[in-house]
Amino acid sequence: MREPEFKIVDPRRRFLLWFVPPLAVFVAGLVVLLVSGHVTGPFKSVTVVRALFASKRDFFQDEQVKRILMARGYQVHVTPIGSRDLAEKPDLDSYHFVFPSGHVANEHVKARRAGKHVVPYRPFFTPVVLATFREYAEALVKAGVAKPHHGGDKPFYYTLNVNGFAELGKQRWKDIDPGLSNGNRVIAQSPDPCKAYSGATLVGFFATALGDVPPQTVEEAEKLALAVKPHIDAQGQAGEDMAPKYFVPEGRTHAVIAVIYEHQYIAYQLRQQNFDTERVLLYPTKQHQSTPELISFTPEGDRIGELMMNDPDLRQRAVELGFHSLGWNGETGTDFGGYIAGRGLPEPPAGEMGRVELPKAELFERMLDVVGDCG
C-alpha cells in the first residue's frame, strides 16, 4: 500500500503559469502585426482618404500597395466608377482625390473644381491595347492587317493596322480563317464608350484610322462619328470592364478581342508561373496612352499624390503591377523596361509608334455621344 501523496504547488509558479501564456500571446501578436505592416494600426492614427477611381483602382486595391500606404499612415477607401460617370458625379467635392483614366475626364474634373483646391499628379501611364488570343492574332496576320512585333515562335505583341482591321469588319472570323469555328464578325469589343475611357479610346482608334486629321468643328466631329459608329455598334450591347473576363478560361467566349489596358496584361503575365502564350496583345499602329491623373482636392489627397510620385516602394510596386512610371517632369522612367526584361517578358512596343491624336475634349465628347447614343 502506497502512502497518499500531496502535491504542493509553488504560488510563484502558479502565477507564472497564468501570466506567461497571455504575455506570449501579446508578444506573438505584436510580432505578427509588425511583420504584416499593420503595426501602425494600433499605435498610430490612420488617416482614411476617400477617393473615386476608374480603371486604375487595381493599383489601390493591391494588398502590397495598401500595406505600404498603411505604413505611411494612410488608408484609401476606393469607390470604383467609370471615368465619364466620375466626371459627372454630383458629390465630387466630398472626396479627397479622384483618379480618372483619361484626359477628357481629367479636364472635366478640373473645370468643375475651378477656384477650389485642385492639384494634379501624373505618376504613371499605360497604353490602351486590344487583347486577343494567338489564333485570332495569327488570323489577322494572315489577313495582312497585323504583324508580330518581335521574333520567336510565340510573340506576345503584334502591331495592328486599324484601317485594315476596320475593313475586315463585315466579314466573319471563319471567313478570314477557315480554321476558326467562329461565326461572329471581325470586331473588337469594348466597354460602353458613354461610360468608360477604354471604350472611348476604341472610338479614338477608329476615328484616327478613318479620318486623316482630327476634326476641328462640331460638324466634322459628328460626320466622323457617324463613320465610326457602325464599328462600335457591331458588338450590340457593350460589356463592362473587359479585363477580368479576358483572363478567365472562357475569355474567348466573352470576347475574342477585348479593349483593355496594357498594365492589366503585364500584371497578369507577371503573376503566372509560366507566361501565358495564348493571350497576346495587338498594338494599333497609332497608339493611345492613358495617363491617369490623380487629382487632389485636399491636403490629404496631396499627400497621397506626393507619395505616388516620390515613395520608392510605391513606385516599384507600380512597375510590378505593369505601369510605366513617369517623373515630375513627365519623363518616362527606365525602371519599367528593366524590370519586365528582368522577369523574362519582352518589353512591349508601348510608345514606339505614332500616337493617336484625339480631337479637342469637347469635340471628342460630342463624337462619343453620337457613337454611343449616350443619353
Binding site: P21, P22, A24, V25, F26, A28, G29, V32, L33, H38, G41, P42, V78, T79, P80, I81, D85, R172, W173, S181, N182, G183, N184, R185, D233, A234, Q235, G236, Q237, E240, P244, K245, F247, V248, P249, E250, R252, T253, H254, G375
Partner: protein
C-alpha cells in the same frame, strides 16, 4: 497548441476589430439563384451583411427594381434595354445557356451539333425539349435570342430587319413545354428529350440524383449566350455594404464556394475548377441592342404552333426544263436546319403551266411527308404556256388562315387572266412572295408583291435555295 490557438484568435481579433455593424438589405434575385443559400450565410458571417432575398425570373425582375436595395440577376441586359440599369454592377460568376440531352437521344443531334441541327430535328418531330418561359425567365429569353441570332447567321447582333420573318417556328415545334420552373418540370417528365437552360442548372440537376441518367451537356457550335450574374446596387445609400459584399463575393474563397456548390463559373481566374466547369464554351453570340427585336421574338414565340400554311406556286412550263427545274428540286431537297418544313405545318404545292397541273396539300407529321412533297416536285410533267395569275388565283383559294404564298416563275404570263384582271378581285390578307428568275417580269411580280404585302426576291444572283431561305417564315 493552446498557445497557437490563442495567437490566431488574437490576430483574428486584431483584423476584425474594424468590422462594420451588421446590416440587413433587401435583394431581388433571379429564380435560379435560390441555390446560393449557403453562400449568403457565409457572406453574412464574413461581412455582417444579411441579404433577405426575393426571387423572380430575370425578365420579370428587370421590369422594376423598386423597393430593393440590391439586385442580383443573370444579366443587366434587359434593364439596359429599358434604360433603367443601376449605375453600379459587378459580375460575380458566369453560366452559359446551353442544351442538356438525355444520353439515349444524344445521337439524334449528331456530333458537335449547332442550334440549326436542334431546329432541324425539332422540326422533324425527332427531338423534344423543354425551356423556361422567355416572358419571365432570363434563361428562356437568352435561349430564344441565341437561337434567333444563330438562325440569322449574320455574325452580328440581331437587328429588327433580321427578325422581320419568323425563322424560329421549326425550332419551337420541338418545344414540349415552357414554364417558369423548367428544371422542375423536366425532372417530373420522362417524355422530353432535352432541356435548354443554364449550364449551372443542368449540372445541378445531374448532381441531384433526380434523373435516372445524367444529361449530356451540348454547347451548340454556332454560339451560346453567356449570363454573367452582376450584383447591382439599387439604393446608392448602401454603397459601403455593397462594396463589402462585392469584395467578399469576388474573393478566391467565395468564388471557390460558388464554383463548388452552384456549378457556376468563377470570374476569378485563380480558382480551381471542377472538370465539368472546364468545357470549352465556344463562341458567344452578341446581344441585340433593341427592344423591338426582343418584342418580335416574343411574338414569334407566343404564336408558335399548328395551323401554319405555306403555298408554293411552281412554274412547270417547258422553259423550266434542264438546270432551272434541277435548281428548283434541289432547293426543296436542301431546305434544312432552321428552314425545314416542320411538324404541324401545311405545305401546299400548285404546279402550273398553261393551266394548273397538280395541287397537293400535306400537313407534315414526319419525315415521310417530306418525301411525299419531294415526289410532287420531282414530276417531269412539263407543259406549254404560262398562266401565272390563274395559278396564283387557285393558290389563294387553297389558303387557310395563317398562310403565305411563294410564287416561283421564269417566264411571262401568256395564258389565262392578265395581271390587271387578277388584281381587280379583292385578294384578302395573304402575302405573296414572288421569286423571279429567267425571263419573268420584274414589274408585274413586284406589283403583286406590293399589293399583297409580300416582297419580291430576285434569284438572279443567287441560287433558288438561297431565295427560298430568304423568305422562309415570312408572313
Amino acid at each position: 497548441m493552446r498557445l497557437l490557438a490563442l495567437v490566431v484568435l488574437l490576430v483574428l481579433t486584431a483584423c476584425t476589430a474594424s468590422t462594420p455593424p451588421p446590416v440587413r438589405l433587401k435583394m431581388l434575385a433571379s429564380t435560379e439563384l435560390a441555390d446560393l443559400g449557403p453562400v449568403l450565410a457565409e457572406l453574412q458571417r464574413a461581412t455582417g451583411v444579411e441579404l433577405t432575398v426575393e426571387h423572380r425570373g430575370t425578365v420579370e425582375a428587370s421590369r422594376s427594381l423598386d423597393g430593393f436595395d440590391l439586385a442580383w440577376l443573370s444579366t443587366t441586359r434587359f434593364l439596359r434595354l429599358r434604360g433603367t440599369e443601376p449605375e453600379l454592377a459587378a459580375s460575380i460568376m458566369t453560366s452559359p445557356v446551353v442544351l442538356g440531352v438525355r444520353p439515349g437521344k444524344r445521337a439524334v443531334l449528331g456530333e458537335r451539333p449547332t442550334w440549326a441541327d436542334v431546329a432541324d430535328r425539332a422540326a422533324l418531330g425527332q427531338f423534344h425539349y423543354g425551356m423556361a418561359d422567355p416572358r419571365v425567365s432570363g434563361g428562356g429569353m437568352a435561349a430564344l435570342i441565341g437561337v434567333a441570332t444563330a438562325a440569322a447567321g449574320t455574325g452580328a447582333p440581331l437587328r429588327p430587319e433580321d427578325v422581320s420573318c419568323d425563322r424560329l417556328q421549326g425550332f419551337l415545334t420541338g418545344r414540349a413545354f415552357d414554364v417558369p420552373d423548367a428544371v422542375g418540370e423536366f425532372a417530373r417528365r420522362s417524355d422530353v428529350d432535352g432541356l435548354v437552360a443554364h449550364e449551372s442548372e443542368l449540372l445541378s440537376l445531374n448532381a441531384s440524383g433526380k434523373l435516372s441518367e445524367p444529361l449530356e451537356i451540348v454547347y451548340p457550335r454556332d454560339g451560346i449566350v453567356l449570363s454573367d450574374y452582376p450584383l447591382m446596387l439599387v439604393e446608392p445609400e448602401h454603397r459601403a455594404a455593397y462594396d463589402r459584399v462585392v469584395e467578399w463575393l469576388r474573393s478566391p474563397a467565395a468564388q471557390q464556394m460558388i464554383a463548388d456548390r452552384t456549378w457556376r463559373r468563377p470570374v476569378e481566374s485563380s480558382v480551381q475548377r471542377n472538370e465539368k466547369l472546364r468545357a470549352d464554351l465556344g463562341t458567344a453570340l452578341y446581344f441585340p441592342d433593341s427592344t423591338e427585336v426582343i418584342d418580335r421574338l416574343l411574338l414569334f414565340h407566343d404564336r408558335a404552333g399548328d395551323g401554319r400554311q405555306v403555298v408554293f406556286v411552281l412554274d412547270y412550263s417547258t422553259s423550266m426544263r434542264g438546270p432551272r427545274l434541277a435548281g428548283l428540286r434541289e432547293a426543296f431537297a436542301s431546305l434544312n436546319g432552321f428552314d425545314r418544313f416542320y411538324v404541324g405545318e401545311t405545305v401546299t404545292i400548285v404546279r402550273f403551266a398553261g393551266t394548273v397541273l397538280e395541287e397537293r396539300s400535306i400537313t407534315v407529321r414526319g419525315k415521310e411527308d417530306l418525301d411525299a412533297l419531294l415526289a410532287v416536285v420531282a414530276s417531269d410533267d412539263l407543259r406549254d404556256n404560262t398562266a401565272i395569275w390563274a395559278a396564283l388565283d387557285r393558290a389563294l383559294h387553297l389558303a387557310r388562315g395563317d398562310t403565305a404564298v411563294v410564287l416561283m416563275t421564269d417566264g411571262e404570263n401568256n395564258a389565262g387572266p392578265s395581271l390587271d384582271e387578277f388584281l381587280r378581285v379583292g385578294r384578302g390578307e395573304v402575302p405573296v412572295y414572288p421569286i423571279r428568275f429567267g425571263e419573268a417580269s420584274t414589274a408585274e411580280l413586284d406589283r403583286v408583291a406590293q399589293a399583297s404585302g409580300g416582297r419580291l426576291v430576285e434569284a438572279g444572283a443567287k441560287s433558288l435555295l438561297e431565295a427560298v431561305r430568304e423568305i422562309r417564315g415570312c408572313r
